[in-house]
């Protein structure tokens, strides 16, 4: 296994971000753009037009071989063998205890070819787990390609028009107007192989584009030029976080962790107990979490003071939960939060409050997501 640098890494697009006036934050050892000026403007651009994100810190692992599908059925929680070539699937990498090592998107690129995208901060444990679990599969290669692949996301209602207008994107195998959500297509960018997935982490229509790191800057510039008259602006991790929160999407380290069972996070459907054969975590998942284990809920509050990660959720007389993510929703105009709460309190409908630095604010339990885009 190669050594994975863990500090002060920069994206192949770093110079572009600096020139664009980005401020940076450390994310899993990477210096990534947090905003290019106004995180609210970036958020609204994605909801109403389009935003372009550099998420090259994400990890990409190519799994190939005749045993690849069977291996992923064993290594991951879902039945990856059931998806068609160029289909994608959200999945989980579980430990033996049923906890979540990472949440992943898996793109099937062929009968014997899968592309696993993991969180930057979990690259090492994911690669380690996949490598360990590969023992016993003869015709299989697990190849960590993270250092060689850049990832650019274009998200928002104008995304498709922007990609279609981008000079240099050619040979798109499935025309983008026919590409369904959670499918991908091969293409080229100025002669370099390009994978385009209709996937994302914002709750809007959008695309994620994978290509060689040494071509990333050219692609970013070409997309930016194509999007100039379509409202496209660069967007950083601050808006990415508020967008995914509104869309009710979990963030590893906040809503997900090795001490979390999928069912607690509302991800029970991601675990396929009907698939044949064993998979890592199966016994623990079948046994289930302890009775009364906290469950993830959506909370909304009035006013403008938001609950934040680690703030307590309380009833009139007891602490019954903890917020994992929260913000004043830029789209909705009121505070939203995700929190783990004792299920008995939810079932009983007890009045809940969030403790905002000593002030109790009444909270309503709502179903996730907070925001859902209008159907096309």
């Amino acid at each position: 296994m190669t050594d994975i640098p863990t500090t002060d890494r920069t994206s192949p697009l770093h110079a572009i971000h600096v020139a664009a006036g980005a401020s940076f934050t450390d994310f899993a050892g990477w210096q990534m753009p947090v905003s290019y000026g106004s995180d609210l403007a970036e958020h609204h651009a994605v909801r109403t037009a389009a935003g372009i994100f550099d998420i090259s810190h994400m990890a990409e692992i190519l799994v190939t071989g005749a045993d690849a599908a069977a291996f992923l059925d064993f290594a991951l929680a879902g039945r990856l063998s059931a998806i068609a070539p160029f289909q994608a699937k959200y999945s989980l990498l579980l430990n033996e205890a049923g906890g979540i090592i990472d949440d992943l998107v898996v793109y099937r690129l062929g009968d014997e070819r899968f592309f696993v995208v993991a969180n930057a901060g979990n690259r090492a444990p994911v690669v380690e787990a996949l490598t360990d679990r590969a023992a016993g599969f003869a015709d299989l290669v697990v190849d960590d390609q993270s250092d060689d692949i850049a990832l650019i996301a274009v998200q928002g209602p104008h995304s498709r028009a922007i990609l279609e207008a981008t000079v240099g994107i050619t040979d798109v195998a499935t025309p983008l107007d026919e590409l369904k959500y959670y499918f991908s297509t091969d293409a080229f960018f100025d002669g370099a192989p390009l994978l385009i997935g209709r996937t994302g982490y914002t709750g809007e229509d959008g695309f994620e584009l994978y290509l060689s790191t040494d071509r990333a800057a050219e692609l970013w510039q070409a997309l930016t030029v194509a999007g100039a008259d379509k409202g496209l602006i660069p967007a950083g991790l601050a808006s990415r976080d508020t967008l995914r929160l509104e869309a009710g999407m979990p963030l590893y380290g906040h809503e997900l962790g090795t001490d979390t069972f999928p069912v607690q996070a509302g991800l029970g459907r991601v675990v396929n107990l009907k698939k044949e054969g064993d998979f890592v975590g199966r016994a623990a998942i079948e046994a289930g979490p302890a009775a009364g284990a906290r469950v993830l809920v959506g909370l909304t509050t009035e006013g403008r003071r938001a609950g934040r990660a680690d703030y307590a959720v309380v009833t009139a007389d007891a602490e019954v939960g903890i917020i994992t993510s929260g913000a004043l929703s830029p789209t909705l105009g009121y505070p939203v939060a995700m929190a783990y709460v004792d299920p008995g309190v939810i079932e009983a409908g007890d009045p809940l409050f969030i403790d905002v630095r000593g002030t109790r604010i009444p909270a309503s339990v709502v179903s996730l997501p907070f925001y859902k885009r209008a159907a096309n």
């Binding site: 401020s23 995180d39 609210l40 403007a41 403008r304 004043l328």
Partner: protein
């Protein structure tokens, strides 16, 4: 907009403009930039007595919460209602329309000069 070079500063990223016995207080452009887009401001009431170094208000952005520390002992004589109704003024004009409170003080502590503050934040 106040001339940033003539203001005094605290290590908690407030600026102070002294006029007679009244100090106008805001947060610096550096602090506003670090916070990101400000979406909520809570200020002390007019008449409130402030103790230097205590937390007297909050400045929330979409992603984090900043605290307003009293830079001086004194009494609040004015709170900027404009910034309460439009918190984005903290970002767009931190040294001007984005001011936060005016405090009538009895004694001014030692504050940082512009050069000292600039050295502190490394910009």
């Amino acid at each position: 907009m106040a001339d940033a070079t003539t203001l005094q500063y605290t290590a908690e990223h407030e600026w102070v403009l002294v006029d007679g016995d009244t100090a106008t207080v805001g947060i610096t452009a550096y602090a506003a930039d670090k916070l990101g887009d400000v979406v909520f401001v809570e200020l002390p009431a007019v008449g409130a007595a402030l103790a230097e170094g205590s937390i007297v208000g909050e400045i929330e952005s979409t992603k984090s919460v900043g605290e307003l520390f009293a830079p001086v002992n004194g009494e609040v004589v004015e709170a900027n209602e404009g910034v309460v109704s439009d918190p984005s003024l903290v970002n767009s004009d931190p040294f001007g329309e984005g001011w936060l409170i005016k405090v009538k003080f009895t004694e001014l502590p030692t504050l940082l000069s512009h050069d000292e503050y600039t050295a502190l934040v490394g910009e």
